[in-house]
């Protein structure tokens, strides 16, 4: 099998050459952030300066940057260039408090396009493709990132944006899209709707590849999307604070997402203590942006939980691979002292024949005890006319959950469509403990 690589020079560097480049870029970026008041203050408190960084191992001496820092410096306080050099503003949704604002210089936009072109090429996108982008165009970085990457590759972009599923399906079909860009849960919504219309999505659409991101998803969900749409589905990773999509992406080996390490220095830390963990350990991903001009962030805490693998990949890239994110350190539920990620529960449900991935988690506290209830939508395949069989089915799932997450969860069957269907991120958790 042949693997296309967009930028072989940077994606296939020998590790010592890569490290050399990384150190050079890190030192340059530290000189630049030293002008930002927030970093001046952080460096002063830590008693460290750009001159104290001699090797990549010295990175741990630098203080973390958090979302809170961006909020405190809202809107432009973290920018390292004057506004005359900024050509674009993006921001997070700001569902909790003020949004976080990021800026791009002209060079940043150019770099960003190239980073996205890297992972889109790795996912199999070629100039002949017609790329349907169903992320919302707006302050959110997702749509624009994939848009620029596709254009740079030379594919035809359909800037569809989000919403209106019927119209999405009409355009997907009529314009003959071969590549789909959206959240994984929306890909399923599309498959559902096409099936409801009485068509087989595998034949109805010409889709060949799907690039999904914006929310954590399991291998089971990938298999379901691939089977129902007959496509090759890949994952990619990014966050608006660090460029947007384009931090990492899967190649067709699909053994983790290659982090573009010539742009970003990855670390894995223990989310509780902040201590750096050795390679292969599960923890929170921390990224340092060593190229960006407008808003370079040092040791930014992504809150995403993952693992890094440094063994070389068969695709030829030497870049480190990160596993699919296993949830966020702030989405991680601690129930009776057990760490639970919604994706773990999703995996169990997927393995139950006939079960669909429509579920919601409700966490409550009865007295001093935490309880977890998993609400699962019933359908004809898992609905039995006999109470004995219905109860046995529920107990079977409860048993499997207990084995997999180490915690008793109560399964509650609910009527179909009683849960909100999100066109963007699926909101699966209702935590009633802190009210």
């Amino acid at each position: 099998m042949e693997y296309n690589i967009w930028d072989p020079l940077h994606e296939c560097l020998e590790r010592k050459d890569l490290q050399h480049l990384q150190l050079e870029r890190l030192r340059a970026i530290l000189d630049r952030v030293a002008k930002v008041p927030c970093y001046q203050e952080k460096f002063r408190q830590a008693g460290i300066g750009p001159g104290d960084i001699h090797t990549l191992d010295d990175l741990v001496k630098l203080p973390f940057t958090t979302k809170e820092d961006l909020r405190l410096n809202y809107p432009y306080g973290m920018f390292a260039v004057p506004m005359r050099d900024v050509v674009r503003i993006h921001s997070s949704s700001g569902t909790t408090g003020k949004p976080t604002v990021v800026g791009y210089s002209r060079k940043d936009l150019n770099d960003w396009s190239n980073l996205v072109a890297r992972f889109m090429t790795a996912a199999g996108v070629v100039p002949d493709d017609i790329v349907h982008i169903a992320f919302g165009y707006g302050l959110f970085t997702g749509a624009f990132g994939l848009h620029y990457g596709s254009e740079l590759i030379g594919s035809a972009v359909i800037p569809m944006s989000g919403g209106n599923t019927e119209r999405q399906i009409m355009i997907l079909k009529d314009y003959g899209a071969t590549a789909l860009v959206c959240t994984p849960s929306y890909a399923l919504t599309l498959a559902d709707r096409i099936e409801k219309m009485g068509h087989d999505p595998r034949i109805y659409l010409k889709l060949r590849v799907g690039l999904f991101g914006g929310e954590p998803w399991s291998e089971e969900l990938r298999r379901e999307i691939e089977t129902r749409l007959d496509i090759v589905a890949t994952d990619n990773y990014g966050l608006s604070e660090i460029v947007g999509p384009g931090v990492a992406g899967e190649c067709l080996r699909r053994k983790g997402m290659h982090i573009f390490e010539d742009h970003f220095l990855p670390e894995i830390i223990d989310p509780e203590t902040g201590e750096v963990l050795p390679p292969g350990q599960k923890g929170e991903l921390v990224l340092t942006n060593i190229v960006q001009e407008a808003i370079p962030l040092i040791r930014y805490r992504t809150r995403d939980i993952t693992r890094l693998h440094y063994e070389p990949c068969e695709c030829g890239r030497t870049l480190v691979r990160m596993e699919k994110t296993m949830g966020r350190s702030d989405d991680m539920l601690i129930i009776k002292g057990v760490n639970v990620f919604p994706t773990q529960i999703e995996e169990v449900l997927f393995q139950v024949e006939g079960c669909e991935p429509h579920y919601q988690l409700v966490v409550e506290r009865e007295g001093t005890l935490d309880t977890l209830e998993v609400q699962v939508e019933v359908n004809e395949n898992i609905f039995f006319d006999e109470m004995k069989k219905q109860r046995a089915f529920i107990e079977m799932i409860e048993k499997r959950l207990a084995t997999n997450i180490g915690l008793h969860a109560k399964i509650k069957l609910v009527e179909p469509s009683s849960m909100p269907r999100h066109e963007g991120k699926a909101n699966r958790i209702i935590d009633k403990r802190n009210k």
Partner: protein, 143 residues
């Protein structure tokens, strides 16, 4: 000899039973008999109606999760010991009853017992062999 029954998943929240009755009423579907098995979270509503296909389609398009199952309707004289005789027949033949419910016919003075069996064909043969009166679908739907 088999009768079509509809089972509906009912989430335990207010108005769901009323909703079933409403959508069926709108389509002029008449309910002949019903039983509800319930737990604290959900219930299984079983219905015998005069038009099973219309009821099934109506409920599905109304967003309900519905299954069709086959049951046996047995007619017994509405008098003490009527039910006992039937159950003894089944017991002797080691036929397992999954569930049952009953109603009384309006004019004939008979009771009708609806049985759900694991092995429905064996149950029918056994009951017929003991001259138990089994109602056909047509007869039952029009009662």
């Amino acid at each position: 000899m088999k009768v079509q029954q509809i089972s509906i998943f009912i989430e335990n929240k207010s108005g769901r039973l009323a909703e079933v009755a409403r959508v069926l009423g709108e389509k002029k579907v008449n309910i002949r008999a019903l039983s509800l098995a319930d737990t604290s979270d959900f219930g299984i509503l079983r219905l015998l109606v005069d038009d099973t296909d219309v009821a099934l389609e109506t409920l599905k398009s109304g967003g309900f999760t519905v299954n069709k199952t086959e049951v046996v309707a047995v007619e017994v004289p509405d008098q003490p010991g009527g039910l006992c005789r039937i159950l003894q027949v089944l017991d002797e033949a080691k036929i397992n009853v999954e569930y049952m419910y009953a109603f009384v016919e309006r004019n004939a003075g008979n009771a009708v017992i609806i049985f759900r069996f694991d092995d429905i064909d064996n149950a029918i043969t056994t009951l017929q062999g003991k001259n138990v009166s089994i109602l056909t679908g047509e007869k039952l739907y029009s009662l």
